[in-house]
Amino acid sequence: MPLNIKTLKKTRDELRIEIEGEGHTFCNLLQSTLMEDKNAEVAGYDVPHPLTLKGIIYLKVKKETDPYKTLEKALNKITERTDEFLLKFKEATGSP
């Protein structure tokens, strides 16, 4: 399913986006990665219906921070981690 996003709410320190095509698998990872950032005040997610593949991410950041920036930072962190995992896994299993 192709990914699609929709901004549901955007204020100076809050952001609520709907991710079409993602459920618990990715949203839970994103939420916990967002919370690692000290600039994030609240991060949560919701999957409104178990049969439709759609997740809603909510983020509130501390003052003087852009919620989009915090979100992008978290996404980059996920990519970095999976890349690191791939590298280490290939090393450990000896696959090319």
């Binding site: 399913m1 986006i17 698998t25 990665t33 995992f85 280490k88 896994f89």
Partner: protein, 270 residues
């Protein structure tokens, strides 16, 4: 992040990932189960079926046969350029099957599926499909396509994918009298008496069943059971559709790709 104690045997792998969050481990597990694509029969054209099974029953059984998959040669139908409902050579593999029982009862096996592309074939030759009595006949064409486990379990690349925290078993030697009761009750045999001293081996085998604590006469018990929340022991068992290492690699790759795709979308939405 560290990956260690890799034990690979045929279609299974056991490895430990240290220094990751529970959310990461769980995302990896869920992606392996539901989002790594594999091949499975999805369309069946039944030309002749005089067996005792209904056509749809037969089609369902064919769908559940795991097929060896080549992820580089095929694309998911929704991403294929052909946009055709029937599919093309890039998104569909076909099989034919023709079996007739002449004078004795014959069992139709997965090995009777004749693949068009020899790279896409049933994982095992001896998976029974249906039994035919003398005179009964089966003739069909089957089309396989790539799909994901989230749509139907027949596209799941693994029969098991689990993770658990790394258990930590510590013994307070000053309080343990070395009676050895716990040693015989541990179902995983991880406890051992060495010179009357209780020691622990193969701690990753521990299931935290607490049998050792229950059978210890001392209170408070000198054995402490705990676990580390950043070390995960993964166990992955492939159906044979893909090599087990490729499944894990593909899952990690997909999570990363999804994050960078979302990042792009967010840049545009800003």
């Amino acid at each position: 992040m560290e990956i260690s104690t890799v034990k690979r045997e045929g279609n299974t792998i056991r490895f430990m990932v240290s220094g990751v969050t529970p959310a990461f481990a769980n995302a990896l597990r869920r992606t392996v189960i539901a989002e790594v694509p594999t091949m499975a029969i999805d369309d069946v054209m039944i030309i002749e079926n005089t067996s005792v099974l209904f056509d749809e029953f037969l089609a369902h059984r064919l769908g559940l046969i795991p097929l060896t998959t080549d992820l580089d040669a095929y694309t998911l139908p929704e991403n294929c350029e052909c946009r055709s409902e029937l599919g093309c050579n890039r998104c569909r593999a076909s099989f034919t099957m023709e079996v007739e029982a002449t004078d004795r009862t014959t069992t139709v096996y997965s090995g009777d599926l004749r693949p068009d592309n020899p790279a896409i074939k049933p994982v095992g030759e001896k998976i029974p499909v249906v039994k035919l009595a003398p005179g009964q006949k089966l003739r069909l064409e089957a089309y396989a396509k790539l799909g994901r486990g989230q749509e139907h379990a027949k596209w799941q690349p693994v029969s098991a994918c689990t993770h658990k925290y790394l258990p930590t078993v510590s013994v307070d030697v000053s309080k343990c009298d070395g009676c050895g009761d716990c040693v015989k009750f541990c179902p995983k045999c991880i406890l051992e008496l060495k010179n009357d001293k209780l020691t622990v081996r193969n701690v990753e085998e521990c299931t935290l069943c607490t049998e050792c604590v229950r059978h210890c006469a001392k209170r408070p018990c000198p054995i402490k059971l705990d676990w580390s929340e950043e070390d995960f022991i993964f166990y992955v068992e492939s159906t044979g559709a893909l090599p087990v290492t490729q499944i894990v690699e593909q899952a990690a790759k997909q999570i990363g790709e999804k994050a960078s795709e979302l990042s792009q979308l967010i840049k545009r939405a800003k």
